[in-house]
Symmetry: C3
Subunit: 264 residues, 3 copies
């Protein structure tokens, strides 16, 4: 079976960074699938990249190698790492970009990558994406054992993410991302809501944001002609939307805005 | 032979939608070629996506599966479909995005996809691109028969597109898209023009737009230093251009603007 | 081993151009890896594309076919060519886009592509990317001999690029590109600087731009809190940067700005 490497960066698609990484990978393993998760992460925004890894990684074939390069500390003492959770490999800087994987899995193992046999010869101080992460991912995709790249560490870096509070009749959280359509995604999960909705229909909930109360729909088209609405999105998170409009722009909703949800 | 799946969406490349779809496809068929047609369709613009499908699909290997997800009605009653024209498969919502294929082929067959054996388990109400279209396309690419996904329908949805009028000495149509270079593409085809040009050279035509008369060139560089010009573009359609400039911006030309062409 | 074709264009990702080219390639060789270098070259900017080819091509597996289509003269007399440097193939217009390859290699051979057996049937006057370059690249990837596409030429086109002056204690050059992060890349190479730094540390250099003197760091994070700095970037070129900021915007630095570097 062909193995897959996914790439997530803040490099954009205009410069030579992504092309160089793909060249390095194919030079080591021309049989691998290279898949772009995105190269449009906001420059230096580690949290945004961490969310993408959380949302996407588990849809890929077992054994896929997910590479994330959002790396303002490149060249300094921050360590290159491989993370393994039993199902997938993750390759990138130890700056928190794999936080969700580290926190959600019990059997996570983290390797500090030090074995420069696997690095690009004549590498640079400023582009480990090309010089370290790309070749390490390519060698992993050929079956090289992760423990050959370096030693296991336990003091790896985990981001502090905003945590929603879920009590017996209300959940309180915040907007954590806004997508291309202007939909505002919160950190309130369906799991959290299920603690108090207990089988009642989703439209028996009320969502509050900016002192407004809004209704919860099942899908976007149910919000036709109704202004700001909410739904449980495809990642099982509470999301605010405006049908065929841009909720974020129209209602000035952005990351960090407080949101609560309760029984009507 | 490796089979191919092309993807066309309005999802952009910053969010997790496209990455999730590619993961789902590779998880079912890691040997398939996944090709991005575009993810930059204007949000919710079904007509724009229909034009892209029309222009691109026939260049691909026979048997290619073209997936289009521009889908404001996701979750409502609009149906997921597979379209077959004898040469290609098309997978997406029944909202007109495959209109050109439905209208141009005599032996078109349309399947209403209902067999949820092939869907992603634990799917959502809001993202059939990932939960239905991606897995259906992946199973088709592995040789699954289209008739196993659901029953044939005849009342599928076709968009009403603006139709040019072609009489014995004039063709009248309109601008239907503007490309990255500012070139304004019309719905007047070379076929239509050939009814009256009858072998005479292309520069014996005059094009009228906004009360201006412009000349028809054979290729872009022939318009050097000449302001607004026209040519027959690589899709065999009449197109307005400004050599190394942006015709749409400079001459304020947009979709819907009326264009006619006649013998000089 | 699977062969690879890289694509570099100014077509953007919203229109049908790139999708059509990929379809044509896969129709001839469904086993090939197609890799996007970039489709976001500034429209008609041949020099920008030439820099990308220079930076990226050598990271790919030997034998990779690099296709570049930045081609304002399409349809006119400018010739389609194949360039070979012993390690890679390059396919595109003879307008200078492969200048760096032509100048840096001693054993370069250039073929004027004329054999229309290999072209797309029913091609156009305006899109050789799809009608000529894509099929020629696909046939090369299947092992077709370059000399079967046309005759060798020697009067191929090379761009005049700005050349830095390197004397015994100073190098003088200019900014030649600005990347997504606002980093300003110069045409002063590490090779040039090594003529006078002769083993002393990199921070013993001073860079001058806009009458300001700035320091040279080893990697980005060393410039934290220090305003405009310089370093040797991952392509071994002198680059100006602002740590986690945008040097080009903050200090109004653009292409053509003069830069010099000397011992402090």
């Amino acid at each position: 079976m062909r193995s897959s490497i996914s790439l997530l960066t803040d490099f954009g698609t205009k410069d030579s960074f992504v092309g160089q990484m793909k060249g390095v990978i194919l030079n080591i393993n021309p049989e691998v699938n290279i898949v772009d998760l995105s190269h449009d992460i906001t420059p230096f925004n580690i949290g945004e990249a961490a969310l993408m890894i959380e949302k996407c990684h588990k849809y890929f074939p077992l054994g896929t190698i997910h590479v994330a390069v959002v790396d303002p500390g490149v060249g300094s003492k921050r360590r290159p790492i491989i993370v393994m959770n039993g199902d997938y490999f993750f390759v990138g800087p130890d700056n928190g970009v794999f936080s969700s994987v580290m926190e959600s899995s019990e059997k996570v193992e983290v390797i500090h990558v030090t074995n420069n046999e696997f690095f690009l010869r004549k590498g640079s101080m400023t582009f480990q994406g090309r010089d370290v992460f790309a070749p390490v991912a390519a060698w992993l995709s050929k079956g090289e054992t992760a423990f050959n790249f370096g030693k296991k560490i336990r003091d790896y870096h985990v981001l502090e993410m905003p945590v929603p509070t879920c009590d017996k009749d209300t959940a309180r959280g915040e907007v954590i991302s806004v997508d291309r359509f202007g939909n505002a995604v919160t950190n309130i999960s369906l799991d959290c809501i299920e603690r108090f909705i207990t089988g009642r229909p989703i439209n028996s909930l009320t969502v509050r944001i900016h002192d407004e109360s809004i209704q919860v729909k099942r899908f976007y088209e149910e919000g036709r002609g109704e202004g700001l609405c909410a739904l449980i999105n495809s990642d099982a998170m509470l999301e605010l939307f405006l049908y065929q409009g841009n909720a974020s722009q129209t209602y000035r909703i952005g990351c960090g805005d407080l949101v609560s949800v309760m029984m009507s």
